[in-house]
Symmetry: D2
Subunit: 395 residues, 4 copies
């Protein structure tokens, strides 16, 4: 976490019913609107991201509603499981390419196939399906999905289903346009691109979603949008907010939106460039990138597939023990098959070089044959592709 | 917040899936069990206290279930409102003393009347009522309720209803015995007696409550106990925990349980003594204490009723502007009629003397006639009643 | 220490030879000039205040030089002792009032007697005396001295001696005018009115002092002004500065000079008012104030003389143990006879009420007979004398 | 700075005259004794390292005393300049190898030549020379000197001169044995191996030095050992200590001496290994290491000489601007010719890989021809030479 944010969070807690708080509340709400790229309300919860998944579903759906979900990885699967627990009827679409039945979950190397969505919605002539739920940036794989294409698919099918999107790990690192892409509810959290500790989460909502919430019958109280949106008018929340996290959030918005560092687009460009550098290393090693579609590379993290027979978790453990570097583990269907290198939040060329050095040494020590030095390739990329000056230092 | 806790929370965040985390998780779970005085599970949520109210209801109840609630003040009323929103059928008992219809909510000066509970449950021969919900320490009034008496009332009525208790502001300052008092679900939060920022909340649960949760049909996912309790066996949580708040929680438990400061009983004794000193001041001023029943004085805060015609919020504002002291406002039915002096968390004799001085000066400047100096009375009490040495400094 | 300053000091340390440092250096040097009320150089040392005493002497004096010092209390005595150790010939004037020989150091209840200085300098027709050294605000007694009067005395004697003043505890709380008062070297430190931790100290210097430093022959290197003043032109220091303390110093200057809080004069007015309130309490108790001359009351601290036969240190100990309040001890000739109540730095009406309550309870518990309640008197003063709004909150 | 130390320094400041302080004082004094490897007193000053240089000279020498110093680099030169300013008569020995007159200060690539010292002292049959002053680890060059050899040279000459050593940057990273090596005064500071901010500095003293200080006539007060050593018996200091830095120092000693990380010897081994890895990189690049004698490589930092015609400061600037990495500049006679890579304090294999990557990219971007990849060489070294487990993580 950047020092600026840590310091902001250490300010003394103010009375959440007093006039100073309202100034903070309005500042934060204006800031997150810009981050989500929307003029419509963004609901902030004093709860972790999983809670915001539930909030998205329970505000717009009723018991037994059919929803269309799409299996892009571990987190899409967890959201699907949650929908089931809440008494919804989720249908879980998945990749059906020629190789779909091969081992190692080939579907987890792809994004949402919008044509499948369109096809399924067209078939739903009764409009039983109430919502389409997809993940923007699958944290478990490093694959993004084309959310605008999903919107076009729904429109092409002339289907009234709402579009619900999880951008927990994408927001504020990858370009994400809640309003322009016609998303009805975007779910996000504080602990990824916003560079905060976990503890607050979000629902950005469209007018159509708000309309739907008035008729939706899943029980809701803590997650209910209505009271929060109403009290937010004045800069307050109906119950005790996480004031110190809101201080941090205000600071994070200032940092991410700072025009002297290129604003939001500058932030996105930094992460795209870092992703390129990391993938240059993985390619040099001769290891497959988990994301099979170059259009969908995540600017947030890169999944690295290890050769058959290598236990990726043993490699991760060795790297942690020898070099004090924590890599993301393979989750769910890719457990033990891959690890993940993050390029989110507050990093820079040299922190990524440190991570790549640790990976390269650890892979070799684990007996993995590498085609060439990834560290060398990344240095060539970073040295050869200077970031525009304004983007150089995010904090 | 005590420095010790601030420092603990500033430790670098560790991987919530790694082995070090399990050590922290188990330490925290053991600590909070002692704080709730229970050997049964305590579920910790990465969400504020309001969320834990919802969790308590949605884990053990089904749509349309009747629940018996009791109006002791503003927070009991909000919980009742939440039960309604969740589709339950709450029945809201209230004080029925001779003066019940007089102005200024006389019922908000009393605790739960256990005999009413007993009477009502006896009348419910069909056992339609599934839960009794009461507040242990009403933060809006400074009145506690006798939870053991409520348990006895349920038992005397031979009624199977579950007992759900909110001790959000009581826990860790006032004696509270989840297990010995036969409570089924206790709701609490981090930001009062535990001296942490808001952001984590609790459900302490009984075996009977766990049984009930298996049949309960309110939809739940984020709040569902089962997965959390299961993963807690290993010291983990099913979703991103608020790691830094857990550091703070571990430290808070160490402080509160520290035998060299008298352990939990020492903590309770400190707050009882501070409450006595503050009430000595209020009595000297000649102002009524909001809590009309000396058996039920809160060791956490004291409500001070102002004379007819005095706007308590104007007094509070003057005190804030002149002396930089924030007092609790009157909420709901007592808005403008009273203010609240806190003696919770990390205070000592002199911080209370500062607060009482600010009140006394502010009351006089507001034209309130005071019978005598409350500051003088509090000094006499504190000087005349030394705290046992071991209790002197909590941190 | 104010949170603002703590946060400023926690910024990451920058390279003290880089361009960003020069910006900080110049900002700090401009700020301290305003605090000392001088346009001439202020030398900042990465050393505690005692070091700046030595710096003042060793920059302008030569081995064996005669200096005139004045015994106003413990710190004046320590400075005198230092002059001796450095091989100077200090002459230590002292109070010669009618009561001067009575017990309990009556001279320590008075300020510098400028007429004595004048008389002595007039007698020094050879101009053997090279410097007059006095303390502006005696921390051991709470007595200030009239520095402008000392300047007039030197001028009246037409004597070329330099005027060296210790304002370690006066600066930034009591009005202090290095240039207007014609002081040649002012010594100060970071840990009093500047609200910083100990670790940096100051010599504000006049052009005459700089001239003298060119001929002075006491060996000096670390303390030598010349190289520091020269490098300060560019915003740098010749050796490793305490960068994080300089961050804090920049913030402290901003706070103290902030026009929305009345600027420097606002700061002085706040401390004068606090001193008044505290002395109202001491008078009500019927205890003598250590400072016998109302013109010279310190706005920084108040010394309280205890009745014959009472061990002031035993009272202090009781207050510390019972109420966790640290009072200043009697030092040197007044050890055991008095204690000191500080009203410096970041205090407010209620922190002083807390301190006075602790004193009043502790005095009574120690068996000291009090004429009336000082706490009552202080409340009357504070309530009856509102601080101008702009001064209300310093931070 | 390690988090552990930052947190320790943020503890609330305690009264430096109270009993709790004595516990801290004694703990710190015991710890630094172990770090200096001496049973004799270590004097701690609330001042930066330059002050401790002055303290060493002024405690044991008299005006006009002859001292023998040795030019190993920029800091040795500054100490020599200070001795001159203090009115001593320093004789500044220098390297006299065959290449001594070549450009680029070949002498700054060598350590102290003990045989020169011996020869000079033997010639001083009158024992006019009172002290020999050398630098243990020249921060400007990355060359250490063999202090035990200097001691043997003095003894071989049967000369009574005191041995004064600057180990400001060596202490706590490189093996340093004040007592076993027969050093009389060791000068050090807080901001290098002790991982603290600047602000405290040290004189470790021998019984012989203490004897000498009783006869030495340079004026001294702030720096005088006698009062400090006397008050240290009780755990106190004669003037306001930097309490929060002492908290940090206590923590630093605990970390450095921690037997589970190999204790002091473990600390030294970590730095030796890091130095090896860095030098492997420099050798692969084909660039000369500033230190020409492999016996004297500094475990603290490595100086890298750039080819004739390359402006090292321009390279440093490019690296800073492109990669946000601050390298040490060439100082004094090697300005513009070299830069310095630090491997002191709280680093690990990957922070060094990050630094080496930044250097390698920056050198290439500056047009410097590199023989091979230093990054590759360092990875081979680090991967091939695992640190013993106990040394892996210092904090």
């Amino acid at each position: 976490m950047p020092d600026r944010i840590l310091r902001a969070m250490s300010l003394p807690t103010i009375d959440h019913r007093g006039p100073e708080f309202a100034v903070l509340g309005k500042r934060v709400l204006a800031g997150v609107g810009q981050i989500f790229q929307t003029r419509h309300p963004v609901v902030i919860y004093p709860a972790s991201g999983t809670g915001a998944w539930e909030a998205a579903l329970s505000n717009v759906l009723s018991p037994g509603d059919a929803v269309l979900m799409y299996e892009t990885g571990h987190f899409a699967s967890l959201w699907n499981k949650m929908a089931l627990r809440l008494g919804l009827k989720p249908e879980f679409l998945a990749y059906r390419g020629a190789d779909a039945q091969l081992p190692n979950a080939p579907g987890w190397r792809q994004g949402v196939q919008a044509d499948q969505i369109e096809e399924r919605l067209k078939a739903d002539t009764q409009h039983a399906i109430k919502a389409v739920c997809v993940v923007h940036n699958e944290t478990s794989t490093g694959v993004t999905s084309d959310i605008a294409a999903v919107r076009r698919a729904i429109d092409a099918a002339r289907h009234p289903a709402l579009l619900l999107v999880d951008s927990i790990s994408g927001l504020a690192s990858a370009d994400y346009r809640h309003e322009a892409w016609g998303v009805d509810v975007t779910v996000s959290g504080s602990q990824k691109g916003l560079m905060l500790p976990p503890g607050i989460s979000f629902n950005a909502v469209s007018p159509k979603a708000i309309e739907a919430s008035k008729r939706a019958r899943l029980p809701k109280a803590f997650w209910a949008w209505d009271e929060i949106i109403e009290m937010n008018q004045g800069g307050y929340w109906p119950y005790t907010p996480s004031t110190n996290l809101l201080y941090g959030l205000a600071e994070a918005c200032d940092m991410l939106l700072d025009p002297t560092h290129g604003g939001l687009e500058g932030t996105f460009a930094r992460h795209r460039r870092w992703g390129e550098g990391v993938r240059a290393a993985v390619r040099a090693w001769g290891l497959p990138i988990q994301c099979a579609d170059p259009q969908l590379y995540s600017p947030v993290l890169t999944g690295v597939l290890l050769p058959e027979g290598v236990d990726a978790d043993a490699v991760r453990r060795l790297i942690y023990e020898r070099f004090d570097l924590s890599l993301g583990t393979g989750l769910g269907k890719v457990k033990g098959r891959m690890f993940r290198i993050g390029h989110l939040g507050d990093c820079n060329d040299l922190t990524l070089m440190a991570a790549l050095s640790g990976c390269e040494m650890g892979l070799k020590l684990s007996g993995v044959k590498l085609a060439a030095s990834g560290v060398q390739a990344a240095m060539e990329y970073f040295a050869g592709h200077p970031a525009p000056v304004a983007l150089q230092k995010a904090a």
